[in-house]
Amino acid sequence: MTAATPVAASSAADPLPETGTGPNRRKALAALAIRLGALLTFAFIMLYFALTARGFLSAYNAFNVVEQSAILGVLAFGTAVVIVGGGAEVQTGGIDLSIAANAGLCAAVFATLSTAGFNPTVVLLATLGTGLAVGALNAFAVVGLGILPLLATLAVMNVAAGLELTLTENTVVSAASPVLAFLQTGRFLGVSTLAWTLILFSALMILVVHHTAVGPRLYAVGGHPEAARAAGLDVGAYVAGTYLFSGFCAAFASVLLVSRLSASTPGTGELLLSVLAAALLGTVFSRRFVPTMGGTLLSTLFIGFLANGFQLLGVSSYWVAGVQGALILLVVAVTSFARPQEH
């Protein structure tokens, strides 16, 4: 349902709706086949786990997966928004490779300041400031200097990872505060705080991106920057905004991360593969192969269930990384072939 909305939204801002002619028609059919194929594959894998993995179907397990996917989900939304605003072309479009490293840095700031005894409000503001600062650096590199996002954010990823190491000396920095305790153990209607966070954050993202004026403008900026500029939109500001938002998501995710682990730990950067897989996989649910918020949520949960199902079946967790890598390749390859020609 949610996957259909942005298509309409994006078409509304689309000056060149492609219908009719031969190659485009074939592309549209191929796109439909991919969309259905992806959904069927999802359904088939879920069904397979349901039939073979003991306990997979229980509500307890399902909410576990939602809870485990919260951090990934927040980061995937950040990446999805960057891809929407920067355009979904793989080589030149929007991407934020620094988001996971940024989350690691924010977690380090959060834990270090908490341990140093700063006021929780100050700690939260500093964490948020760190995330936004890294986002601003990305925005400056991409919009201000015109560097390809793939390279700009790769460089910033290393800056963030380096700062995290400097701050933590690659050690575990434990943190404890009432806010963290609430996030870690709080429950409402039997559902944990972290699971609620994903549910509410997703709802908010779907609402803002697909049901307010911001969404169509963002899709227009990413899909047809010239047209958007002609229509009076400040393309640079929108693109910069997506990187700032991605920085915000990194900061937000870092708080969830520290609450879950009671500490900042090395290795947050390893989340990048899952984040990219979730954001890119989310594109197969739209007609034009651009990320949608519903699609991003769906693919985030899919990746969560994949790891969970593998564990329940006793398959080594190392396979999960391999499968995620393969999924990224598959999605990028398939959508590059099937994506309607924009120019």
């Binding site: 485990q68 564990q311 329940l312």
Partner: protein, 327 residues
């Protein structure tokens, strides 16, 4: 016991007695141990080092041998993965969970959840009051013995480079604290500040460059007398760095008994000074035996120590054999 036994036989008897003591109740009702029809969850932070892998393998082999079913989870050195695995493991309701190594600050709330879920918790190398039993080496003794060997080799004075990147790992905390305690009696042995940080991954490369840098910073013979770490993988890099720099009078000291490092200690020309070699496979196996005992209704002590051997340059010819790389 007759008085006519040879000294060798006496020594053997003594060894057997000590082993029996260490292994706790191992000899009491063995043979009847079984995990038939039981599911045991095993969660480890990683299996990328010799010690980790052997302890993990020891557990899995013993679970299979006793007829149980293992849910074996390797978190690949990622704390977040381990937490998610533990969470899912709790949902699977195994008959017991064995947790191996990891950061206690991160683990504690989740170990508590295992306990709250009514699942008996056992640990390997993780000292926590939440576990029914922790099977491990006597890290207090290891820490003190290794430090005393180091102080002795240094002649009671000099400076020590210390790797202290894993204080949040309980066994490292114990060994480090014991080393400091020993140094308390030898004020002429000083730790160089700031301490170094050993890391995972890239442990060996990182230690190599750290020690190379420090030898450059302290360029004269006698500036540095020893390099200490709570395990031995960084010491492989440290030893190589000292050798490459051609420095005399610096020796390295570590714990675990990784074959490559034991080989260095056994080599008279290498600056590797001593290593406390443990029996990770036996530790893993014994942890499972403890689970079986507990599930059979027997009393299990809060900790079980497996003996470790301090391999030094002086005794390597007699002690290093079983720990050397398999040719």
């Amino acid at each position: 016991m007759s008085e006519s036994r040879s000294p060798r036989a006496k020594a053997l008897l003594a060894t057997a007695a000590v082993t029996a003591l260490f292994a706790g109740t191992a000899f009491a009702q063995d043979g009847k141990l079984s995990l038939e029809g039981k599911t045991i969850g095993v969660t480890v932070i990683g299996t990328d080092h010799d010690w980790d892998l052997k302890a993990y393998q020891g557990q899995l082999d013993e679970i299979e041998k006793l007829g149980g079913e293992a849910i074996a989870l390797d978190a690949g050195r990622n704390d977040q993965t381990q937490i998610s695995q533990i969470q899912t493991l709790i949902a699977q309701q195994p008959d017991a969970i064995i947790e191996q190594l990891g950061n206690l600050d991160v683990l504690n709330p989740w170990l508590q959840k295992i306990k709250d879920a009514g699942i008996p918790l056992f640990t390997v190398d993780t000292a926590t009051p939440l576990a029914i039993n922790n099977t491990t080496s006597n890290n207090y003794a290891i820490g003190a013995d290794l430090a005393l060997q180091m102080v002795s080799d240094m002649g009671g004075k000099g400076k020590v480079l210390v790797f202290n990147g894993f204080y949040s790992v309980p066994v490292c905390k114990i060994r480090y604290d014991m080393m400091k305690y020993v140094l308390g009696s030898y004020p002429e042995v000083e730790i160089i500040e700031p301490e170094l940080r050993d890391v995972i991954p890239n442990t060996i490369q990182s230690a190599y460059s750290n020690v190379t840098d420090m030898l450059t910073k302290y360029p004269n013979e006698g500036d540095v007398g020893a390099v200490w770490a709570c395990w031995d993988v960084p010491q492989i890099g440290a030893t190589q760095a000292i050798q490459a720099a051609g420095r005399k009078g610096v020796q390295t000291y570590g714990v675990d008994g990784s074959p490559e490092y034991v080989e260095m200690v056994a080599d008279p020309d290498s600056p590797a000074g001593a290593v406390a070699a443990q029996q990770p496979y036996e530790i893993g196996k014994t942890a499972v035996d403890n689970v079986a005992r507990h599930l059979a209704g027997q009393e299990v002590p809060p900790f079980t120590f497996l003996p470790a051997v301090l391999i030094t340059k002086a005794n390597a010819a007699e002690t290093a054999g079983p720990f050397l790389p398999k040719k």
